[in-house]
Amino acid sequence: MSGEGGPLTATRPAPSAEDAAAAVSRMRDMSADLRGCAVLRSDGEALAASGDPERWQEAAAVLLGAADLAGEGQVDSLHVATEDGEVFAVRHRDLTMVAVSERFALASLMLFDIRTVLRDLAAGRGPAEGRV
């Protein structure tokens, strides 16, 4: 996943907030179990979120920081399942998506949806172009 190509370059500019908002909206359309999600840049700033971006940004920073401190380098993705819901985070190039879903959401589907949306966002593809 993160191994696909290097960081975003001048020829592939970072996605705009509008593109990220469209990605969040697409994610909400795709995943019935989703409660909310946010797209973050590599510096941790929220490009778009389904709620208050600052709150998502703060909470996501703590989660990703805790995971990175596990001691085996920067994490690629993570899944935390609790009694109250499930949390997913996926990194792709310079972008990260953090998502919260209902309990017992199918992890493989959630991760697939997140990866698809992030990959299209990083490649500058719109929803219609990204769909197979």
Binding site: M1, S2, G3, R35, G36, S50, G51, D52, R55, W56, A59, A60, V62, L63, G65, A66, A67, L69, A70, G71, E72, G73, Q74, V75, D76, S77, L78, H79, V80, A81, T82, E83, D84, G85, V87, V98, V100, F104
Partner: protein
């Protein structure tokens, strides 16, 4: 002998029963977990009793609150 469409319906109902039973077992048997993946396919589970596990569960709980707040507002 059953009519062909009955055979088909029974088979589909059988699959649905199997799927429902699987989901029931999954709900009963599943415990909270925190799983981290690195590039190259490495992954590791962190029980809540470990320092990293505790941090991950606390951070996840905060994120779930953010998601619930959004839902409660009806956005």
């Amino acid at each position: 002998m059953n009519k062909p469409h009955r055979v088909l319906l029974e088979r589909i109902a059988g699959y649905a029963d199997e799927a429902a039973a699987y989901l029931r077992r999954r709900r009963i048997g599943r415990r909270p977990f925190a799983r981290v993946y690195w590039s190259g396919g490495r992954s590791r589970d962190y029980p809540a009793t470990t320092k990293t596990g505790r941090s991950l569960f606390l951070a996840a709980a905060r994120l779930i609150e953010v998601g619930v707040e959004r839902k409660a507002r009806g956005d």
